[in-house]
Amino acid sequence: MPSHTNGEKWIKFLRAYGPLPEGNSQEAENIASFSAKLGIERLSFTHPMEETIKKLFANKESKKVAIVLGTAGDGKTTVCLNLVETMSGQPADPACTSQSIETFQILPEYGGGEMTVIYDVTAWRHKSDDSTLMQDQVHLLEKAAQYAAGKGGTPFMIAVNDGQLHETVRALPADCSSDLRAFFDELLQMHSSNRPNSTSHPNLEVVNLSSVPSHKLMEMCLGGILSRPEWACIEDEKDTALFGPNSSIVANYHLLKTEAVRDRLISLARVADASGYHLPTRSIIMLLVNVLLGHPDFPNQLVKPGVEAERRFNKDGRYKAALHKNLFGMNFKPAERKKRVLFEFLGNLRVGEETTNDIDQLIIFGKEHPDFQQAHDDLLGKDPFDQRNPELPEYLSKYLKGEVSEDTEIEKFRELLSDERKRIFVHASPEQFELYNLWVTCIFHHAGHFISKILAPVENRDEIKEEDQLKLIAGLNRVWTGLLVRDDLECIHISTGLDTTTSPISDLLIKKIDSYSDSHIQVRARNIDSKPEFVLRCGNEEFAFELTMLRFEFLMRVAKGAMPMSFSSEIYSNFQALKQKAIHTLRLKPNPKFMLLMDLDHVGSIQETRISLR
């Protein structure tokens, strides 16, 4: 068997973290043996929640029953393994981890005594064909419930996925104790309401690893992967095909280290969070490994060291595995790509697929046209790692000569343009990104604005700027009234139609809410998770809704003049439901003695006509 170079081993090792068909290859339980076999230390990150968990146990008193929740791949097992090592002074016992449960002695400095860790509830309870839990498992959970209720016993840490938690509750036998039922009832309540502390069980604590923002995990993973000393192979083995000048790995590694690409990845992670998609650590690592090693021509679409690599990298084909393609899973066929949730999410952003006149004219005419030449050279001119598809210049030339007319050619040309837009999206520096407003190449045209003008101040507990608040007000006014009201009004007009409050044209005014007198408008951080929420206050009543990426995008587009119903029927109905809820929560009632009928003048100012009903 030929011996492998350090570089080959490293790539082989990284592949195990990639989007391979055997999806569980990345699980902590499996990676350890692979790591030992290759003699490479596994990728390790200190999860931001580890310190919180440690505090629950690494003290002499008041230890907890900690339920560690999180999306699959958030690092629950790793967190448990690390805690066992800290608390017992030695690594977890492989014989126990294979059974998914370990009971150990706590070091005296942490108070001594016994503690039990269940590494993964599903693996732990899959021991019989019976759908209910086995007697000894129920007995163990009874002990955890007893300790959580403050009735004595020893502390526990239990790692469980969201779905598994419900499965476990369903698997409880009918004759289990009322204490155990009460324990799980409380746990489900805490889970569904994102509550970390229990009101009924003094020793029960829920730690949700998914509550850490994805962009923080992205930063952590980028640092963790790119700082590995094994990357020295790029310099040490530059004479080999695997790390030579035609290698896509080398190109993608250097690009991934640039500020531009890192900035983009972090922004995408922020957009994911703001859209309700949490990116678990495992998915982020998978994505980064795919960015580095993805290649459509290799088995499993990931570069594999060996003869295959030598054959493929003997000529330049780096554009095929360009970073901007791998980032969106383009190294996979569409059906394969769809199987991975993360690629499905990134695909739904349609990066590069939104046509835009400004960018398209730069791509198509920029090189020749004097008006666009400078911008073209600035944004598109540089391509140090040959990421652009070499067919693009040829097609551009054909297009300008009017020679792209066949359906297949038109389709190909569109594909090349989309590819080039993706490339610009990923490679543009933060300054260029802002200058050319590159978010317009994806569905969230206002994502940049959302990140810098809403998320940033809200995270810092600052007020958003007045001009940004006015834009939100303009969007809400137009959606909720159905009228093209001017975009500089300082108050929100809550109005209804004559039939329903959600009538597309709602021109009967019930209440104006501004930032003065007894009412209030504000964007602030939500208590439970610090996400931004839009708040309307009227007298003593308050109504708030989460300002998600989609809602923000919708409001911005409508504020700029788009018809509220032209975006998507779901988001339009969503805002109509919010209006109903606002009217209900703020206790707004129409006056039975008169009506205020709204109409617009030629500049969109609202004129109110009073209709007396006496």
Binding site: D162, T496, L498, T501, S573
Partner: protein, 514 residues
């Protein structure tokens, strides 16, 4: 398992005149289950509820034998102003600013226009408004709340959204005579269903609904300003018959409506959700009734395709299931006729008596069925066998024309049935129905599988492989297709803002109004 609705003492025949060619569908499903557009179903239901509220009898218990009557509004002047008033804008434009002249001209025009239907005096209007323009503004405003304006060309069938009691009236012919083509009674059947629900539910409904049909609200006052001071009501009319004292669908409908009413929708928005639940529950009532007659005391399985872009087993079976469910009404007709004849011992003895002549048997059978089924025309059968066959065929034809069409119309109105993307109608719930079901069944945040269990247990809705395997033959349950259907369900609810998806195929459904 619930008791059969066909048990002795639960059914009472109707004794107030039978307006039907053959009283079979009416005897099984009531008088009557007929095609009705959604807006008319809602309008009819709210009209009856408001009529009973005015009588102080809202959701009082009713009996099958009772002819429940209420007086509806005619609102003649209002309807002429809104729908028979073509020169309003023209006069307003012509006499801009000259209010007196405008009133004079318009009053002349409207007298002319209203003459054909009924002479009316509109002079009361002038004193109610400062200017003619103010009057025009109000008429135009109220016109905007017409439900389904494109649904009918007949002005006398135009209905206003039930935003206030004064907006309620019954459709008529051009001369304001009662016209039952639009208010065909399913809306009244829905009211009667609620009036037979459990007492505690009726009491709760009687507490909750009046907030939506009470007078002296802003919208009520607006409409009243267009009407004469004294309102005219039609004479009290009844004639709607619901055969069963108790039926599983009564409490189900009541529960759904109570849950919706409790959400505190602003103004009268609740009717926008309620209409889908009424149509859906009346549809289930029809299917469940057929099932009970056929010997199954359980709601029919509703295999729902969550809208898919391509055809699969779920789509195929959702169509088959719909057809089978609705056509079971024809089997119910057979069983009903058999049971009817069997119930007359004298007749069955005679029919079984080999010594008796065919003529005598036929004569007695004719007499009996004629009296029981109020046959408008006696079929000409020459033998007992022929006669029975002809009666059955006539009854089935009536069932097809009324019940099966009504079921199709209710299913479509509820948003349960569609042929979107195919040429066959199938169960594929619309976003509006899914939303209504979530609002009616989710109080606290609940796991998606719990909601699916509720939908299965309460309505026999089948989305998942697990539920399919419990209710359908094993050979049609293609688990992977139902699994994808289940995934689409979670995705759809998420897109509608009704669910939050977590890891490990876990999703929480939430009622945004809670």
């Amino acid at each position: 398992m619930s008791a059969f609705i066909t048990r002795d003492g639960n059914i009472e025949p109707w004794g107030f005149g039978r307006d039907s060619d053959i009283w079979v569908p009416e005897a099984i499903w009531g008088h009557r289950l007929k095609e009705q557009p959604l807006h008319a179903l809602l309008g009819e239901f709210v009209n009856m509820a408001e009529g009973m509220f005015r009588k102080n009898e809202l959701f009082n218990k009713t009996e099958p034998k009772q002819d429940v009557k209420y007086a509806a509004r005619k609102a003649k002047e209002l309807r002429i102003l809104l729908f028979q008033n073509p020169t309003l804008e023209q006069v307003a434009d012509k006499y801009e600013g000259a209010s007196e002249d405008a009133w004079k001209q318009w009053l002349k025009n409207i007298q002319q226009s209203a003459k054909a239907s009924n002479p009316h005096d509109f002079s009361y209007l002038k004193s109610k408004f400062t200017t003619f323009q103010e009057f025009v503004t109000r008429v135009k405003l109220v016109r905007r709340s017409v439900m389904q304006p494109g649904n009918t060309k007949k002005w006398s069938h135009q209905l206003l959204y039930p935003m206030a009691p004064s907006a309620l009236y019954v459709p008529t012919d051009d001369k304001f005579g009662r016209d039952r083509t639009l208010f065909a009674r399913p809306g009244e059947l829905a009211y009667l269903m609620l009036s037979r629900s459990d007492e505690s539910l009726r009491n709760e409904l009687a507490q909750l609904l009046p907030a939506n049909i009470s007078p002296d609200t802003q919208k009520d006052n607006l409409i009243l300003s267009l009407m004469p001071d004294s309102q005219q009501f039609d004479e009290e009319l009844g004639g709607t018959y619901l055969p069963y004292r108790s039926h599983p669908s009564y409490d189900r409908l009541a529960h759904d409506l109570i849950n919706i009413l409790k959400l505190g929708f602003p103004e009268n928005d609740v009717f926008e959700v309620m209409k889908y639940l009424i149509a859906f529950n009346v549809y289930l009532y029809a299917l469940e009734t057929s099932n009970h007659w056929c010997g199954t005391a359980r709601a029919a399985p509703i295999v729902c395709e969550i809208m898919n872009t391509k055809s699969d087993v779920v789509r195929k079976y959702s169509g088959v299931c719909k057809r089978e469910n609705e056509e079971r009404s024809l089997d119910a007709v057979d069983i009903f006729l058999d049971r009817l004849i069997q119930s007359n011992k004298e007749l069955t003895d005679l029919l079984e008596n080999e010594k008796e002549t065919e003529e005598v048997k036929l004569s007695m059978l004719r007499e009996f069925l004629n009296s029981e089924l109020s046959l408008k025309e006696l079929p000409p059968g020459k033998t007992v066998g022929e006669f029975r066959k002809e009666v059955t065929s006539k009854a089935k034809a009536a069932c097809r024309n009324n019940v099966i069409k009504a079921q199709a119309s209710l299913g479509k109105a509820a948003g349960l049935c569609t042929k979107l993307g195919t040429n066959r109608i199938r169960y594929a719930p619309s976003d509006a129905l899914l939303r209504a079901l979530v609002l009616a069944n989710v109080s606290d945040r609940m796991e998606e599988s719990k909601l699916l269990n509720i939908l299965y247990d309460r309505y026999h809705i089948i989305v998942t492989a697990d539920h399919a395997s419990r209710s359908l033959p094993a050979d049609v349950v293609e688990a992977s297709h139902f699994q994808k259907n289940h995934e689409r369900f979670a995705k759809r609810l998420t897109a509608l803002g009704l669910a939050t998806r977590l890891s490990d195929a876990c999703a929480y459904v939430e009622n945004p109004y809670r």
